[in-house]
């Protein structure tokens, strides 16, 4: 079984490398943020930066709307309807808009963006997403001076989402970013992965991905993007403010009461593979550290 899995990954990886090579020629300097992965320079880096298999990415998910077990989202989301789908952009903007998925795919070109996903539970994956910077989407609206934060709201549909029939979290799922975080080029609107349409269990039809924050910050199946003046309370902050802060930047120096944040396990590795050290800002320190200059990240965790 192990061997089949490996041979499945390799061609995909060669394919991806070829794609990003072609892209880097055609897009050139504008694509710095497209494929940037941490863990470079040491002997194990290639192993650590290998794309996680499509199977693991799409069958091992935290998506409580479809159930709390990792295998639930794949099982319970197959009949989830993502058409029609409209996203409302509202709040502190001059021109609130409703934008359909069709319009989004017409207006924005999704490019491949290979990023590491670090879950707060102490595991990580490398995922070849398809998407574009959130800043591009937000450029379609005019922010007012009160637009200090962005709140993301996921869909609420207990008829289709089994997990929402129980008060596991404060539904609908909410997440948020500070406006400068939201406008950072690494903050991605995701529409697909592995060059395929985004699977339901991964947050179809549209989700956010913020590579330097723990996975739960990246809300799935988004229906509303609201610009607000005050820091929004995310669903996980609501559930346990002691454990989950607003920022939730990947930070090996800030302890979590349950999981080690100093190290992580790479998904898909066998039992003999060691844990690897978790990097500050999930390895994107160079790109994002300046957002937090002068902030005590132990306090603003």
């Amino acid at each position: 079984m192990k061997k089949i899995k490996y041979s499945e990954i390799t061609p995909e990886k060669i394919y991806n490398n070829r794609r990003s090579f072609i892209k880097s020629i055609s897009i050139g300097a504008g694509s710095i943020a497209m494929t940037s992965l941490p863990f470079t320079g040491d002997a194990l880096s290639e192993e650590k930066n290998k794309n996680t298999s499509y199977k693991d990415i799409t069958t091992y998910n935290n998506y409580y709307e479809f159930g709390t077990s990792k295998s639930d989202p794949y099982i319970n989301s197959q009949n989830f309807k993502t058409k029609p789908w409209t996203i409302s952009i509202e709040g502190e903007i001059e021109n609130p808009i409703n934008i359909s998925m069709e319009e989004i795919s017409e207006m924005f070109v999704s490019e491949e963006r290979i990023y590491r996903l670090r879950c707060v539970e102490g595991w990580s994956m490398v995922i070849p997403w398809m998407g574009f910077s959130l800043s591009k989407l937000l450029s379609k609206v005019t922010l007012t001076s009160k637009a200090k934060y962005v709140e993301f709201e996921s869909v609420y549909d207990p008829d289709q989402m089994k997990g929402q029939r129980y008060p596991v979290l404060n539904w609908p799922y909410k997440e948020g970013l500070r406006i400068d975080e939201a406008l950072h080029p690494l903050t991605t609107v995701v529409t697909g992965l592995y060059n395929k349409k985004l699977p339901n269990q991964n947050g179809a039809p549209l989700r956010i991905f913020v590579p330097w924050k723990y996975g739960f910050k990246s809300a799935k199946a988004i229906v509303k993007i609201k610009l607000v003046e005050k820091m929004p309370t995310s669903s996980w902050m609501w559930a346990s403010p002691r454990e989950y802060g607003f920022y939730s930047n990947v930070n090996p120096n800030v302890n979590h009461p349950r999981w080690s944040q100093a190290t992580e396990r790479i998904i898909g590795n066998d039992i003999f593979a060691p844990r690897v050290k978790t990097l500050m800002f999930n390895g994107y320190e160079e790109e994002v550290a300046s957002l937090y200059t002068g902030m005590d990240l132990k306090k603003f965790f």
Partner: protein, 189 residues
Amino acid sequence: MKRFLKPSVFILSLFPFLIITYKIFFNQLGPEPVKEITHHTGEWTLIFIILTLAMTPFKKITKLNVWISLRRMLGLFVFFYATIHMLTYVVIDYRLDLQSISKDIFTKRFIFVGFAAWLLLTPLALTSSKKAMMLLKDKWKKIHRLIYIIAILGVVHFIWLVKKDLTEPLIYMAIILILLLFRFKFKKV
């Protein structure tokens, strides 16, 4: 019939271990195998705690002594699974990185109670023989009542590690509390 009871229970009790071993060798543990091993062995530790604690009430209810003859073996299986559970964490997951492990023990309360529970199990396993029983006389019973505390610590360990959905650990908690309640009742009668 009675002759085959103990060997059969012994073999049955080994089944979870054999299944986990099979899954390791045939790569059936999914994307996060170490977590799976830890989870399975932890779960079976709690199940064997429940089985061990159930023997005395079963004896009282059915008025059959046969249950008591199984108690020691089941208790040793608690130690067996708890030890594999602990070693998975120490050896496979953290590769004997004692600095990280000791930091975890003192900063993460669920690891602290889990480790404490395992430590408390050790004297029970060491004094499980008939010889120890005779040597320790009255003290033996007192020492072995530690299992009540261990059971609570074990289930608290589970409650504290769960992220959000507490259903499973609370079921274990309920069963363990019922079994402990039996002891109060019968002591008073």
